[in-house]
Symmetry: C2
Subunit: 233 residues, 2 copies
């Protein structure tokens, strides 16, 4: 695993400061020379870091004037947008809203996938469900989470809609850490396995409405589990 480059260090720190509100939308950020001095790197390295933020439309450069933060609605990196939107909100509200969002995308994806999924994909989903069961028996949370995420990822790809996969991808990273936390609760694992089995049945039936309802039920269960075992005790 390669060490993080200097360019990424500069870019990430600047984005952290933007998301934290140090440079609100419309305000200027420190110039190249200032950041060069701050990080003790060459100006070229700072320029490259800036370019990564400009490419995501988080920043805009005005030659001779400086570099400015764009309004959130212009950012084109979904991951950055989600980070910024989470900032300053209570973690409970964030968790609930993320499940609402998942519900929209994943019930829709399940509906599409039910009519488009291949036999190979169904076999793979079965494999991941078996992984979840085995991980549950061995109390291996990491393995459980990986299988859980893979199961959902298969449905997203089986939807055959590339935009769905792209839109969901930034969520995956956010969800992985949260999933690790919730999956430590044994009852949540048991519920997830049952819901996935239900979804499996629906997929095999190729009934789009049944698949949508099965995923919807899973999201409802997920929200209930979150409230019962994580947020409210």
């Amino acid at each position: 695993m390669a060490r993080k480059s200097l360019v990424d260090e500069v870019a990430d720190e600047l984005l952290d400061r933007i998301v934290a509100g140090e440079f609100p939308p419309g305000s200027g950020v420190p110039g190249e020379l200032e950041l060069s001095a701050r990080h003790e790197v060459s100006r070229m390295t700072v320029r490259e870091a800036m370019k990564t933020l400009v490419a995501r439309r988080i920043l805009r450069v005005e030659r001779g004037r400086g570099t400015f933060v764009n309004p959130l609605n212009q950012w084109s990196s979904l991951e950055a947008v989600l980070r910024a939107a989470s900032e300053g909100q209570e973690d409970a509200a964030v968790a609930v809203q993320l499940i609402e969002l998942r519900r929209m995308l994943e019930t829709g994806a399940a509906e599409l996938a039910a009519s488009r999924i291949t036999a190979e994909e169904l076999t793979e989903m079965d494999g991941q469900l078996a992984q979840m069961r085995a991980a549950h028996e061995e109390n291996d949370v990491d393995r459980f989470v990986a299988a859980d995420l893979a199961f959902h990822d298969l449905i997203l790809h089986a939807s055959g809609n590339v935009f769905v996969a792209v839109l969901f991808e930034p969520l995956t990273r956010i969800l992985a850490s949260r999933r690790a936390q919730t999956s430590k609760v044994v009852q949540i694992q048991i519920n997830a396995i049952a819901e996935h089995a239900n979804i499996m049945d629906a997929m095999r039936s190729h009934d789009t409405e049944r698949a949508r309802l099965a995923m919807d039920r899973h999201m409802e269960q997920t929200l209930n589990d979150l409230l019962a075992y994580v947020l409210e005790p």
Copy 2:
């Protein structure tokens, strides 16, 4: 209007070549020295251009080995994905996928909005519907499109889920131009007005399932209109 920078020229040309299929996902692209010679710019300029594509996860860099094109579903810029997905594929498939995506997000948002929408927001929606009617009478397509988009935007924000609204923003830019094209067809305008009125009624009733179904019907109508009036004649 500032002249396009050299960095943008290099980056845009490379992206054009990727989208055109000259460098398919998984393949390597020309190295820094080669692009520097090709464009007669310094290697640093090429590096900055590359960084803009890396930041959008179109490219990944492997030090000592080269720079490679990522699979489409890893790209983080919806606009770039749309361009690549449109290439070599019929525009019909892309348009259908975009409506599928809208269907997921907007039926979900309508469901949430029905229970959360304020009287002020309902009044505003009414205003936009009236704008659509007036624009239809006056055959003012731009005004019609603006009111149409504003109506939908209100629902997204009334959902009270901050992630939905921000996640949908990049789509809005893509949809605006497509909406302008479809709204030139008078019958499509008539249908949209009827569907929006139906959604209005559902929102006023605060019945979440009714709202979801109303929006679903609108998306179905939108898909049918696209097929009947734009794609198939």
